[in-house]
């Protein structure tokens, strides 16, 4: 799995490419655990190329959820494939996290 960070003035976009499982979750966790990530107003997660997410992958987002909320950093997912969205939905995360269809909506969110 590959994580590419694209920072702009107040937004950080993370492109996820591949399968997010227990081993690749560490890469993402390192990225999200960086202290300066909380300086952004928004963190957008581009899931266009995310083909699979395991419970360990979900765990990474869940573990940082509270921290982002406390720092008032908005976490927005977009371009999510249906299969991946189902996983979020079954777990009930769609009610908890902002998941939008496209980049435009993500930027507007």
């Amino acid at each position: 799995m590959k994580v590419t960070a694209q920072p702009t003035a107040d937004t950080l976009t993370l492109l996820l490419d591949g399968e997010l499982d227990a081993s690749s979750a560490i890469v993402l966790d390192t990225e999200l655990a960086k202290p300066d990530i909380l300086d952004y107003r928004k963190v957008l997660i581009d899931c266009a190329k995310l083909s699979y997410i395991s419970s360990a992958g979900l765990g990474v987002f869940i573990s940082h959820l509270q921290r982002f909320q406390d720092a008032h950093v908005k976490l927005v997912f977009f371009n999510m494939q249906e299969k991946v969205f189902n996983v979020f939905e079954i777990l009930g995360l769609d009610a908890l996290m902002t998941i939008v269809p496209t980049a435009t909506e993500a930027e507007a969110a």
């Binding site: 227990a22 009930g92 995360l93 908890l96």
Partner: protein, 719 residues
């Protein structure tokens, strides 16, 4: 290689070649009597020519030539096919036996010659060539034997650890010598302008072969002196013979035939030259013998270190051998080895190993060295006495070599070697000792590896126990009643897993069924699974303060909220649990359930003859760890009819991977239920599992799998 090509081109040579290697055994046994016979014939022939014994008549000239050639050939062949005179690396023994055997013959030859000279002046022998001829022929015989023995002793030395190519070259040399003998035999006397170059060429070839003195390198210092003396003796022996034949050749009394000039001359030349070369090589090797011997000892010590690894000794032994080998190699007068207490390796009894030093002396030295701020790594100082503090030492060491025991991840310790003389350690010493230390570190790391693998084995055993314990947490006796059937299946991806399910009978003809899946796998998940089971049983207790019957036990959504609160304190941050709780009331023919992020329940509705998934919302446990969780979980009520089937499972079933990474999926599961809803619970479960196994055949299970099938039956009155 031109010589080889020459060998290959000529068919005749090739024939000789093969003949050389395959002399029949029987022929070998007859060689000794044959050579004796030819010698006697040679003597008789010589006597006949000398005219000393008129009764012998006058034999033709060729008989002498023939018998002589036959004698030379048989003696050479006899020695050729004897077992190699060199046993192992007993070079000195070989030389000594050569000198004491054929070498003494040379002395006898001299004696006989002198005797003959003495006797010649006596009137009684005057003009009598009988005695002269006899002695001459005897000497010739001795000379041939001496040359043959020397020649084949040299062969053994030349071919010591040689290549196949050199062996072929040697055989060619023998064959060329044999050819000169053959020419003599047929009486061909080539003119000088052909004969001399041939002899010179052969001589040069002999010089080339004499260059092979590999064996000298294997002599120890003392053996080298012995070898020099013995070779000088042999050289002397050959020269005595050659001188003898030089003198007698021009003797007016010599009526006997000339010896096989070319052949004997060449062989004698080769024998003498080889002895001379050997002597010189040995002699000039003398100064470096020490170094060679030292290198050999280093190799031996290194071998010993290596063997220690294979025998699986303790680290203490490895350190001892390292210290001992290091001291011997650089001839240090004192040494100590400090080990890092953190990484000294297992079962290293002491932290310091001493050689020729007392612990208190080392303490003093250590303190002194500390003050000089030596570098961390390898270091040589050859003027320790010039450094302040060292001058007044009782044992004045002037040279110090320090070397760390460098491992892959850390240093195991530091080796210190001391000598009294200044300027005695050099880079060379350091590099040899580095080989030793790296070998020792390898041994230590190897021992640790063995230790770790034993530990691993123990861990495996413990995991097996954990697996048994977990197995006991999964209900073995499924609840039975005539209102429903339950069938279950559970399989962990590793020894222990994070899936669980349980049942609990509640008063009022109700049954609680719970299924859950802890995120992640293995031991962590198994711990949380056990916690969840505990939470289930403690929360499903009767509340005595409840106002009505229905409130005595928590409804599923209430249960999930309470479980979420309980788990908030013990779940890891990135860990969560999905779960569904069903409370089936079979008196009322209905059930209530809450889904906390768990997989959707698959349901067959008998009246509508329809298979569907319950669509309900609900958040997993441990995701929100505050009071707001309550808002994210809901109860759902449903009335069932007889014949309805409920399939409850974990994501290990629907996310199981098959060909090309495809997932089993909810749709496929639904199809299977549509095909089997009319069967009993056990049959439905087996059918689904068979299909799942066919789908995932040949691919590893990467998540725990749990499957429960509940089939409701016609309501019957309680018994």
């Amino acid at each position: 290689m031109p010589i080889e090509r020459l060998c290959r081109c000529s068919g005749l040579v090739h024939l000789c070649y093969s003949w050389f290697y395959s002399v029949p055994k029987r022929l070998l046994f007859s060689l000794l009597p044959f050579s004796l016979l030819t010698w006697v014939l040679l003597l008789l022939s010589a006597l006949s020519h000398s005219g000393a014994e008129p009764w012998l008549g006058n034999w033709p000239q060729w008989t002498t030539q023939l018998t002589q050639a036959a004698f030379v050939l048989s003696v050479f062949l006899y020695y050729r096919y004897q077992p190699s005179p060199l046993q192992g690396q007993a070079f000195v023994k070989l030389l000594r036996r050569l000198l004491l055997g054929p070498g003494l013959l040379a002395l006898a030859c001299v004696g006989l010659h002198l005797l003959e000279r003495q006797a010649k002046d006596e009137p009684i022998f005057s003009g009598n060539s009988l005695f002269f001829t006899c002695i001459y022929t005897l000497n010739l015989g001795l000379f041939v034997i001496f040359l043959a023995r020397t020649n084949y002793a040299w062969r053994a030395l030349v071919l010591f650890r040689s290549s196949a190519r050199l062996q072929r070259e040697w055989t060619l040399f023998e064959m060329m010598l044999g050819a000169t003998l053959l020419f003599r035999l047929v009486g061909v006397n080539p003119p000088d302008y052909i004969g001399i170059p041939i002899v010179v060429l052969l001589g040069l070839y002999g010089i080339y072969l004499s260059g092979h003195q590999k064996w000298v390198a294997y002599l120890s210092q003392r053996d080298k002196w012995n070898a020099v003396l013995l070779q000088a003796g042999l050289l002397f022996g050959v020269l005595v013979f050659v001188q003898y034949f030089r003198v007698t050749q021009v003797d007016p009394q010599l009526i006997a035939p000339k010896p096989q000039y070319a052949f004997l001359l060449l062989t004698a030349f080769f024998s003498a030259f080889y002895a001379l070369m050997g002597l010189l090589v040995t002699f000039f090797n003398m100064p470096i013998a020490d170094i060679i011997e030292q290198r050999r000892n280093e190799i031996l010590r290194l071998q010993r270190l290596t063997q220690i690894i294979q025998r699986g000794q303790t680290s203490a032994e490895v350190y001892n051998i390292l210290l001992e080998s290091a001291v011997q190699t650089v001839q240090a007068e004192a040494a100590w080895l400090d080990l890092d207490p953190g990484h000294a390796g297992i079962d290293a009894a002491e932290a310091t190993y001493y050689y020729n030093l007392a612990p208190n002396q080392v303490n003093v030295l250590r303190e002194l060295l500390k003050g000089h701020e030596l570098p961390e790594g390898e270091f040589i100082t050859n003027d320790l006495n010039l450094r302040p503090g060292f001058a007044g030492m009782p044992q004045a060491f002037r040279s110090l070599l320090q070397l760390p025991l460098r491992g892959l991840h850390y240093n195991y310790g530091m080796l210190h070697l001391l000598k009294a003389e200044p300027h005695t350690f050099d880079r060379e010493d350091l590099s040899i000792l580095q080989t030793f230390t790296s070998q020792a570190v390898l041994s230590i790391e190897n021992l640790e590896l063995v230790h770790t693998s034993l530990e691993n084995q123990r861990t495996q055993e413990e995991l097996k126990i954990a697996s048994q314990v977990q197995d006991s947490l999964i209900p073995k006796n499924l609840p039975t009643d005539n209102w429903f059937e339950i069938s279950s299946h559970s399989l962990a991806a590793k020894e222990v897993g994070g899936d669980f399910y349980d049942f609990l009978h509640l008063p009022g003809r109700r049954l609680a069924v719970i299924i859950g899946d802890v995120s992640g796998k293995g031991v962590t998940a198994a711990f949380h699974m056990a916690q969840m089971k505990g939470i289930f049983h403690s929360l499903m207790q009767e509340n005595p303060l409840a106002k009505n019957e229905r409130d005595k036990f928590p409804v599923p959504s209430r249960f999930m909220t309470q479980a979420n609160t309980a788990l908030a304190h013990c779940l890891e941050k990135s860990c969560f649990i999905t779960s569904s709780l069903y409370i089936i009331d079979y008196e009322q023919g209905g059930f209530v359930f809450a889904r906390a992020g768990h997989c959707h329940t698959l349901y067959y509705h008998a009246l509508r003859e329809e298979v569907f998934y319950f669509e309900s919302t609900g958040l997993g446990l441990g995701i929100i760890r505050n009071d707001t969780y309550e808002k994210h979980i809901k109860n759902q009520f449903y009335d069932y009819s007889p014949g309805d089937v409920m399939v409850i499972y974990t994501d290990g079933i629907v996310e199981a991977r098959g060909e090309g990474g495809a997932e089993y999926g909810e749709d496929r599961l639904k199809l299977r239920l549509e095909e089997t809803y009319f069967q009993n619970a056990e049959e439905i479960k087996s059918f689904i599992l068979r299909d799942l196994n066919a789908f995932t055949h040949g691919f590893p299970i990467h998540d725990d799998q749990t499957l429960l099938v509940i089939k409701f039956k016609s309501a019957q009155p309680p018994q």
